[in-house]
Symmetry: C2
Subunit: 403 residues, 2 copies
């Protein structure tokens, strides 16, 4: 008898029929004798519907209130799943963020979990109930509702599993697992049986949408086995583990791409200490994640700086950068709203030189211009014009993994 | 500078445009220098949409989980109104039941408020914020989400106004106030300027949908002036007060009718002590409100008992009564799912005999059969077949109030 945690994404609970199917799957786990906590997302489309209501009232809705608004999506899901489980005769009880309680910091829209109180959940499990936990949401020390950012339900699930010391966490989604590339873009992509935490951290940060990166970091910290799989069939998915056989023989494990990127270029910035801190400090103060930073020395001791942000942050970032540019006497920033970050990832790269060079020549052979480059021990990323995204992914997959 | 409480019903916040209009009305109150707490319902149709999802999963959804589900409706409304107020430059902060905190008992779907902590609300008002409070919802001592029953947002508003010692509570709705009869049924109905708490208690319990009865009881207890009025114009509505001039000169103030009634008849019940307690005790244990009870002595020391319940409780009541009838050796209950309770109400009735007799003869003259009768000092109610409801209301209005 084990304690397991399931997580179901928005498409897995997107309709009444699918909620019923999820309830049947959960009831089968209980019938087999395992204890079960299940974390659910909002029904597919619901978060966007709610954000649309807020957007109709304000171009920049208050972030605290936006969290109050969107947290209702998961609240609806947990209530419906608990109702469906009880209809099957399976004891169940829903938990909201403040009922668990999932304590977070106060970064509305993108809060981080600080602590999970496991007492109420353990009480429900001890009573034989399935604990149905709202993903994505928490509560800060002052009692405000917070949300964990897009994909935050993965983080809730892995954090709940870690807090409960679960044997494993099954992440049910609408895809069969982690692929060597996005199968919608690259027909040659194939499902991976295993991915290491370290590789998955890179893949998640590079645009693979299977898991939120913070959930991978927590799984890695607690050495929690995570099984990401489809809720629409019973086939095995991809196991996220510390290590797996043969992993160093594979140089490039996967090709990732991220179209949710926009580039901001700031030319003619004075070349003196503290300028970068000023630009990126102002962006960080507004919780804007910045990536793929390049700084080049120009003429007259003035620099060019470029970086990428997520598309949804572009408008906020533009306002901040225009203000800072004005204060610095720099030119107005140039925006490239449609770029793509394409990356190759693999732990085996540590022991193989020349991956970066081969990636650049592969892209060059297709006439694809590289706007910026970033590397780590186990990945190489390039920013390119978004229109070449699919071509780049297919070509790199052919070159490194196989057609 | 006064402290006032506004309450907006579902149709007043039913669309983005209406939420914006409510925000403008609230901002004007703040601009005039008054402190403001505003209680809002779910957007029109939302509660029914959510209940429909639950009904698709279960004929009798778990009541705790149903409250978790429907409480999201008001949560969406408070977030959107706070966003709209901030967009107008008006400081505002939303409060959910557990954030206020509105402590209730644990009667899911129909909880009663035990206590309202005014500290957080006063803090917001002191900071110059409009306190936007979710109606209809509370939290019990164990941290479960509860709801106050249909129309419960009125109760939230009046209870919040009482807790804050507000100068008055304005209930904004989609009608202009309290009428002498339902204007949709009776063209001769006219708006009342004043109604006493006692009269409104009767009217609310008899089917007038303007205010939830518990809100009237709280207003009466705290002598809180309540102004029920339309959110779509600035005309004065109906004031709910302790007393008003001339009130005893009016014999019948209004005709009320309630179509949300079903009758259950139990024949051949043994005539021995404790039987009524057994039947009605079992119904009360399941929180089913019973009304218009009649017990007639039949032959062989066996009785007939009939009573009405709300239509939504009929199915639950039927199951309970069938079980009890079986235990008693009584015949299976007879259900009349479509009946109407029609009533005449007025404080002046205390000093005028013959209102009941005149009511019966008025109905008889139209050939309307009376199924049961109930009277109090200030009202007479009759249960009739639902198909005669409109005819009965018009005829009684003509006879007692004027064509």
């Amino acid at each position: 008898m084990a304690l397991v945690v399931h997580k179901y994404g928005g498409s897995s609970v997107g309709t009444i029929e699918r909620i019923r199917a999820v309830a049947q799957r959960c009831a089968a786990v209980r019938a087999a004798g395992d204890d079960l906590a299940v974390v659910v997302s909002a029904m597919k489309g619901e978060t966007d519907r709610l954000l649309g209501l807020a957007a109709a009232l304000s171009a920049l809705p208050d972030r605290r209130e936006q969290d109050v608004l969107v947290a209702t999506g998961e609240q609806v899901s947990v209530a419906l799943l608990a109702i469906a489980l009880r209809e099957l005769g399976c004891a169940a009880r829903s938990f909201l963020g403040h009922q668990v309680r999932i304590l977070t910091d106060s970064s509305f829209n993108n809060a981080r979990i600080r602590d999970i109180d496991d007492a109420e959940l353990r009480g429900a499990l001890a009573r034989g109930q399935v604990a149905v936990v709202a993903g994505f949401q928490g509560i800060d020390a002052a009692g405000n509702i917070t949300t964990l950012g897009r994909g935050g339900s993965d983080t809730t699930a892995v954090a709940v599993a870690a807090a409960l010391g679960a044997a494993r966490c099954d992440i049910f989604t609408d895809v069969d697992g982690v692929y060597t590339a996005d199968p919608n873009v690259c027909a040659a992509a194939r499902k991976l049986d295993h991915v290491s935490y370290e590789e998955m951290l890179e893949l998640a940060s590079l645009g693979a949408k299977v898991l939120q990166i913070r959930s991978v970091a927590i799984a890695s910290k607690y050495r929690l086995p995570v099984h990401t799989r489809s809720s629409f069939n019973d086939r095995p998915g991809t196991w996220l583990v510390e290590s797996y056989p043969m992993m160093e023989d594979v140089v490039v494990l996967a090709v990732a791409h991220d179209l949710n990127q926009a580039q901001i270029q700031l030319a003619d910035v004075p070349d003196r200490p503290g300028i970068a801190a000023m630009v990126f400090g102002a962006l960080a103060a507004d919780d804007i994640n910045v990536d793929m930073i390049i700084q080049g020395v120009g003429a007259d001791a003035r620099n060019d700086v470029s970086f990428t942000v997520r598309k949804e942050d572009l408008e906020r970032a533009r306002r901040i950068v225009e203000r800072v540019a004005g204060e610095l006497g720099a030119a107005a920033p140039v925006l490239r709203p449609d770029v793509c970050k394409v990356s190759v990832v693999g732990q085996g790269m540590r022991h193989h030189a020349g991956v970066a060079a081969r990636m650049f020549s592969t892209l060059a052979a297709q006439g694809i211009n590289i706007l910026s480059i970033s590397t780590s021990e186990i990945k190489v990323s390039c920013v390119i014009d978004a229109r070449y995204a699919e071509l780049a992914v297919r070509t790199l997959h052919d070159a490194f993994i196989g057609a």
